[in-house]
C-alpha cells in the first residue's frame, strides 16, 4: 500500500515539475497572443532563456541574477519579433519561425562552452506547514521556488486580464485594435510590451530547465516543448486557468512515460515520447470549430497586423 501511494506521489510530483516549464511558456504566450500577436518562436525563446540563465548562473553563482538574465534575454528576443511583426508588419508565422531558428542557433553557439558543465540549481523549498499535509503536501508544496512562482502567476494573470483596466486594454487591443486605437490606446506600444513580457515569461520556462529541472545545459534541451506550448495556448483558449490544466496534463503524460519506462514496460521510450505530440494534434482537431472561437472571445485580430489607414 505504501509503495503504491509513493509511486503515485512521485509521479504527480514529476508531473508538476514537467509541467512547470510548459506552464511558464504558455502563460507568456497568452500575454503575447492576447494582444494580437502570434508567436511561433517559443522554442527559440525557451532555449535562449535556458542558456542565458545557465551562463549567468555559472559565472556568478547567483540563481536570482540568472533568472533575471533569462527574462531579459527573452524580452529582447521578443522585442525582435515585435519589431518585425508590429512595426514592419511582416507575416507573423515566418517571423516566429525565424525567432526559433535564431534562438536555437544563438543558444547553440553560446552554449558551446557550457556543455558538460554543472552549475547551481534551485533547491526544493518546503513550504512550512502546508508541505506536511499528507499526500497533497508532498505533491504540491515540496518544490523549488520557481514552481511556487508559477502557481502564483496563474491567478495573478487571471485577475489582471479579466479584472483590471490594463487587462481590459490588452483584450481590446487583441480583439478589436481599431476600437482601442480610436480610444487613444497605442496599439503598437501595447503589442510591443506584451510580446516582450510574454517573451520574458516564456524564457523563464526555458531557464527552469537549466536551473531547476536540471542544473546543466544541453544543446536543444527544450526538445520541442516550445512547440507543445503553442498548441497549449490554443487548447487553453488563452485562459490562464485552462493553461495550468493543460500544462500539467502534458507534464503528466511526459512523467508517466518516464515512469513506465523506468518500471520496465516493453513500450519503447520513443513511442512514449510521441504521445504529447499526438495528443496535441487530437486536441487541435477537436477544438478548431469556429463556434468555440467566438464564444471564448478569441483575439480576433490574432495574426493580423494593424494599420490605421487600411481601407476596408
Amino acid at each position: 500500500m505504501n509503495i503504491d501511494s509513493s509511486i503515485i506521489t512521485t509521479t504527480l510530483q514529476a508531473t508538476i515539475r514537467a509541467g512547470t516549464p510548459l506552464l511558464f511558456t504558455v502563460l507568456g504566450d497568452i500575454f503575447t497572443e492576447r494582444s494580437g500577436v502570434m508567436n511561433l518562436g517559443l522554442e527559440g525563446l525557451m532555449l535562449v532563456g535556458a542558456i542565458s540563465g545557465f551562463a549567468v548562473s555559472y559565472s556568478t553563482g547567483n540563481l536570482f541574477l540568472a533568472v533575471i538574465a533569462a527574462m531579459i534575454a527573452g524580452a529582447l528576443l521578443g522585442a525582435v519579433h515585435a519589431f518585425f511583426t508590429v512595426t514592419l508588419r511582416i507575416n507573423q508565422v515566418v517571423s516566429g519561425l525565424a525567432i526559433t531558428m535564431l534562438g536555437t542557433g544563438i543558444s547553440g553557439l553560446w552554449g558551446k562552452g557550457y556543455i558538460g558543465v554543472v552549475a547551481a540549481q534551485f533547491k526544493t523549498l518546503e513550504i512550512p506547514f502546508l508541505s506536511k499535509i499528507p499526500f497533497i503536501g508532498s505533491v504540491l508544496f515540496s518544490h523549488d521556488i520557481l514552481v511556487y512562482i508559477s502557481y502564483l502567476l496563474v491567478p495573478l494573470m487571471w485577475f489582471y486580464i479579466y479584472k483590471t483596466k490594463p487587462g481590459m486594454i490588452l483584450r481590446a487591443v487583441g480583439e478589436s485594435p481599431a476600437a482601442a486605437d480610436a480610444r487613444g490606446i497605442n496599439v503598437f506600444m501595447v503589442r510591443y510590451f506584451y510580446t516582450m513580457l510574454g517573451g520574458a515569461i516564456t524564457a523563464l520556462g526555458g531557464a527552469y530547465l537549466s536551473l531547476a529541472y536540471t542544473s546543466m545545459w544541453i544543446e536543444n534541451m527544450t526538445a520541442g516543448r516550445g512547440w507543445i506550448g503553442i498548441a497549449l495556448v490554443l487548447f487553453a483558449t488563452w485562459d490562464p486557468a485552462k493553461a495550468m490544466f493543460g500544462a500539467y496534463l502534458f507534464g503528466g503524460v511526459t512523467a508517466l512515460g518516464l515512469r513506465m519506462q523506468a518500471a520496465g514496460t516493453t513500450i519503447s521510450s520513443h513511442i512514449l515520447m510521441m504521445f504529447p505530440y499526438i495528443l496535441t494534434v487530437a486536441v487541435l482537431f477537436f477544438t478548431s470549430t469556429e463556434k468555440i472561437k467566438l464564444k471564448v472571445g478569441a483575439p480576433a485580430a490574432l495574426g493580423v497586423p494593424y494599420s490605421r489607414e487600411e481601407k476596408t
Partner: protein, 356 residues
Amino acid sequence: MNILVPVVSIIFSLLVMGIILLIFFQRSGMSWGQAFSETLSAYGEMFSWPFGNVYGIYQTLLKMVPLAFVGLGLSFAYRMKIWNIGGEGQLYMGAFAATWGALFLFNGIENKFLMITLILLMGAAFGALWAAIPAFMKAFAKTDEIVVTLMLNYVAIFWVDYLVYGPWKDPKGYNFPLTAEYPESAKLPTMFNGEVHVGIIMVIVLAVILQYVYSRTSWGFNSAIAGDNQKAAKYAGINIGFYTIVALLVSGAIGGMGGAVQMMGIQHRLQHGFSPGYGYTAIIIAWLAKLNPLAILLVSFLFGGLLVGNEQLQMFYRLPLALIYIFQGLVLFSLMGGEAIFNYRIRFVKERAVEE
C-alpha cells in the same frame, strides 16, 4: 527587381553572422585582430570548399538533393498559402517507407529499375499519407495546418528512432541506431566516378515538371487563384476542399520521395538523425526562391554549399553546427524585412510617378 531583396538578404546575413563569429572568437580568448583574421579565414573555408573545389561541389550537390526535393514539395502547398511546416516529418516518413520496401517488402527483387521505382512510390505514398492527416483535418474541421504538421514532424522522427533503436536495428551494426544496408538493387546509380548519385537528375527533372504544371495546366492556374483569394476561388467554382487536400498530399509525396531518394542515393540505410533539419531549411529555400521551381534549384544549391561549409567550420574551427541556424534565422528576417521596406518604397514611388 524581384531578385534584389533575396540577394541583399543573403549578403546582409553573412555580414551579421560574420560579426557574431568575430565576437565569439574574441570571447574565446583571441585578441580582436586575431579574431578578425580567424573570421575571415573561416568564411574563406566556408565558401571555397563547397563552391570552389570539385569534391566540395560534389558534396554540395549531394546536400542539394534533399533540400530541393522538400523545397519543391513545400512550395506546392505554399502556392495556395497552405503552410506545410511538416517537410521534415514527410522526409522521415519517406525514408522509413523506402527502408521498409528495400529491406522487407520488396526484398529479393534484382531488377534495379523496378526496385527503385517501387521504392520511390513507397516514399511518395507515405509522405502523402503523412500530409493527409493535416489535409483532412483542414478540409473537414478547418484545423490550422501549421501546428499539426509541426507536431507530426516529431512523431515521425520518434517513429524512425523507435525502429532504428529497436526492431530494425542492424545486428551487425555494433549497436548503433541504424538498419542493415540496402541491397544493391535499391541503390541509385551514380555519376562522376561514384561521387554523386542520379537523385540530382531526378530533382532537376521534377523542377521542370512542376514549372510546366504551374504555368500550363489548370491546376497551376486555379491554385494561384486559390492562393491569392480563397473566397474568389470558391466563387469561381474551384473546389477548395479538393484542392487543399491534393496540394497537401502532393506536397507530402514530393517530400517523401526526397526521403526515399536520400536513402537510395547516399544513406543506403535508415539511421537516427539522418536529416539535420533539411525540412526546416527547405522552408527558407522555398521563400527565398519565391516558390519558383527553377529558383528553388538554385537556392538549394547555395544552401547545400552553406551546409557543407558549416560542416567544414565545425571540423576545423570547432564551431557548433547550430551556427547555420543563426544564419537561416538572419536570412529569414532580412528577407522579410527587406520585402516590407521594398513594398513600402514601391507604393511611395508609384504615387509619385502617377502624379506626374
